[in-house]
Amino acid sequence: MALRQTELRPLGKPVGRKEDPRLIRGKGRYVDDIMLPNMLHLCVVRSPYAHARIRRIDASAALAAPGVKLVLTGEDLAKMNLAWMPTLAGDRQMVLATDKVLFQYQEVAAVVAETRAQAEDAAQLIEVDYEPLPVVVDPFYALTPEAPILRDDKEKKSNLIFHWEAGDREETEAIFREAPVVVKQDVRFPRVHPSPLEPCGCVADYDTARSKLTFYVTSQAPHAHRTVLALVSGLPEHQIHVISPDVGGGFGNKVPVYPGYVCAIVASLKLGVPVKWIETRTENIASTHFARDYHMTAEIAAREDGKVLALRVKTVADHGAFDGAADPSKFPAGLFSIVSGSYDFKAAFVEVDGVHTNKPPGGVAYRCSFRVTEAAYLIERVMDVLAQRLKMDPAELRLRNFIRKEQFPYRSPTGWVYDSGDYEKTLRLALERIDYEELRKEQAERRARGEFMGIGISTFTEVVGAGPGHTFDILGLKMFDSAQIRVHPTGKVIARLGVRHQGQGHETTFAQIIAEELGLSVDDVLIEEGDTDTAPYGLGTYASRSTPTAGGAAALCARRIRQKARKIAAHLLEVGEDDVVWDGTAFSVQGLPGRSVTMKDVAFAAYTNVPEGLEPGLEASYYYDPPNLTFPNGAYIAVVDIDKGTGAVKVRRFLAVDDCGTVINPMIVDGQVHGGLTEGFAIAFMQDIPYDADGNCLAPNWMDYLVPTSLDTPHWETDRTVTPSPHHPIGAKGVGESPNVGSPAAFVNAVVDALSPLGVEHIDMPIYPWKVWSILRAHGVTE
């Protein structure tokens, strides 16, 4: 249970959240809660076709409808050079379609009216004459010569977006040629969507008198959005004020800039009044950026004793109509080359082909560090295939192949330098806590009775904290992050950061870091994020990067404050600076513990009594460019029972043992793990966005895109090991996404384990009951 916020030395303690008092009162301020005088409402008209030429758009009836102030089409935007906008992946995306549409629900026109209802009414009156074109849904077909070229705007006349390789092809091939054991498995990671509870939306408010645009947007990366908007719109960056208010969940969905935002801004610029656009759930799922959709083939070369030697992976990545991947510039397939995971492979070779299809653009890093989820799932799945082939216990196979504690920092065959970890310790703790041996005994007994029980293990390694400026940028913007701390005379602190939380609890955890560094309580520290006019520049919150980057910035910024505070303390204590020691809550004189001053004393002095020659005031900022990424890891174990009659899978137990380095707030870490496991569970068992052959999205709402309820969700058990990051200022690694990254494989491995007596080696997600039933019946198992 939560700890009071007034205690000192709060780091590592379950401090109650500072953001909660407003949220439990219904006093949060989300973007749709912003209501400004004279505000108009925007509704986007979308294409029913997945691929069609637009012959004509007739907006006359809409313009004549009650309350309508403006209709925008691609042609209007083209005149302003705004019909297209850049994506984060360096592609470009239509804001409003000009000549053709490339996916169902693509933006075709925008209507602005006095009320939302009027805007929706008028949107129905816009007549668009479409000429349907052949639709490409299958990415493999897209790569064939027969497939129509979807992006005729591109110079390269091909549906292939990129081909990307990592690792050493020759060395890998050589090992495979000699290897006594080779396993190969096709693995699909379905198309999913982050689908935060609050959909995307914005209010654009252009003040003509001041030539200033205030843009309220539910954004994970407000600074990056401001820069992109400045580049797209031509408005000077200092005249754009982006405010990301309370964000109702993001999970990667709120990193990109969406066409609706650009339309709202253009409308506000044209009309000189605030314009609000709030998307519907349907629009959220069917048009904003999806995640995953990787078709992967993995091969492991191994010795007969289970020692893995080399890994070969080939992937076709469906990016939809526009490459909207939110990946750092140099990584078209994100950090997918972390795919060798927790295991000591001698060599690896990874290839990814990115492909255009007539589907919505993407893919974003959904609660994931740029494709690490696909990578972790793949290796954890294929390790089990190998174990099965060798008739080895999957835990044993993992223990035999882990990168050993003493190998850190460890350079992976695709070039990553893992900072720290103790994989064996983490797995052994998990095995012990779940009583693995006992479970295997029970499983044997149940199998003898014809029952299907499975135990699935996933010992994943994540790679987060993008990232070091020498390698990581988005559209050229280096991926550092920042903190700015101002200590007021009474010793109260306001700290602003370049990231933007969406429920992760930054207002509490960053206050804990700063309070710890400054010898204050959490109550003394106010954290502010999301306002580009006040917060220092940063790249935002996604890919578990806040703690590794902004968390580092916060600690180092506080230490900068402490450096100056030490000078003032020396002055107050009337000793030389070298004689001053900091014990975590106060400065005292070396050898004279009785004489001390607190940070509050120092703060007051900073404004009232600074030593000669020292600048008054107590504030600092810090832009932290991390030297390396951090590598959180964990050992997850799922236990499932299969209903032979229906094929339904019941998750009986699930234990997550995470190692995210130094823990800032264990209560929040557990909360993050619970949430991430729930999303991993949903992906494993429920979620996919299927398209029919005509490109119709078959799951564009929460009736068919399934999000788990309290009744569906298992009870989660958690535990931890702590291996601090050696390079992070406080040793923390980030945890928000580990459970989502690590858990799908545990679930699937458990189901496959249950069915392994039938010879089953793999089942693609989502594991719907009918899939399990088909396998059971195919093997003559019935109730």
Partner: protein, 294 residues
């Protein structure tokens, strides 16, 4: 998301409602609980020009026992039937079905009459009413009539209600002896429409033989269906493992499931068989237990 504009009518009596329905015909939709209609209106795939809200018609609410059985007013909410402890003994299928409908919040608004008139093939109430051999009471300009449930569902979203007619109640016959029932349903997630579902209602006579059998099939055809062959195989026989096995095998024969995202038709047929097996076994146990207590 806003529905299209519509004219709102809130008749205070049944007669007024019927008059309005007759007057507006195709242009009108009736609003009962609104838990299916309003979402479709928000998505603008339903856009009635006139919405006739029955909420103010008191005579459509609540249930009462009659000589022949139970009359459930059309506006009786799912939650009312879920919690109607007084009905658990004689009409156990009602609460057992109600708790499977959507989620608790929807059950606080949705009504049995609205659900039946909506005629979704995945209607849990439709399935249960088939099992209960219920009759739908409808009122229209020509007066009131009772429609056997098997004649009520015509096609997906289509009932045998005439223009200007609305569902006023549903009549459930009283069981003639000891009764037990089960509602079995597999969902993709809690609150979802069924992948397949089965309502089983069994009444036995003094000798432990099946006196009445009702089996409704959910989401396996254009409308909720009756497992007539299985019912026939049960009536007059004791619930032995043989009769149960035979009836379970027969249930899928009356289903017409389609292949879709929820599963193949073979899968759904087999689910029905499994549900029948489980439901009948549980019912047999329950009734036997009751017999031995008595």
């Amino acid at each position: 998301m806003f529905p299209n504009a519509f004219r709102y009518e809130a008749p205070a009596s049944l007669d007024e409602a019927i008059r309005l329905m007759t007057e507006h015909a195709y242009d009108a939709k009736v609003l009962a609980g609104g838990q299916s209609l309003l979402p479709m209106m928000k998505l603008r795939i339903a856009a009635p020009a006139v919405l006739i809200d029955l909420g103010g018609i008191g005579e459509l609410k609540g249930w009462r026992e009659t000589e022949e059985g139970l009359r459930i007013g059309a506006l009786t909410r799912h939650a009312d039937l879920e919690r109607a402890a007084a009905l658990y003994g004689r009409y156990p299928l009602l609460s057992r079905t109600a708790r499977w409908i959507a989620d608790p919040l929807v059950r606080n608004r949705g009504t049995i009459g609205g659900s039946l008139a909506h005629a979704d093939p995945g209607s849990d109430w439709g399935t249960a009413m088939i099992a209960l051999h219920a009759e739908v009471e409808a009122a229209g300009p020509e007066g009131s009539r009772r429609i056997p449930i098997d004649d009520f569902f015509v096609d997906t979203f289509v009932t045998s209600l005439q223009e200007g007619e609305l569902v006023t109640a549903v009549h459930v016959p009283a069981p003639s002896g000891p009764v037990a029932a089960r509602y079995m349903k597999l969902e993709r997630k809690a609150g979802d429409f069924a992948i397949a579902g089965l309502a089983v209602h069994i009444v036995t006579d003094g000798d432990g033989r099946v006196a009445e059998a009702g089996i409704g099939i959910c989401a396996c055809g254009p409308v909720p269906l009756r497992a007539a062959k299985a019912e026939a195989a049960l009536v007059g026989r004791p619930l032995t493992s043989d009769t149960i096995a035979e009836a379970s095998r027969l249930v899928p024969e009356d289903a017409e499931p389609a292949d879709d995202l929820r599963g193949s038709s073979d899968y759904k047929r087999d689910l029905l068989r499994v549900f029948a097996l489980r439901a009948l076994r549980e019912i047999a146990e329950e009734l036997e237990g009751r017999a031995s207590i008595a």
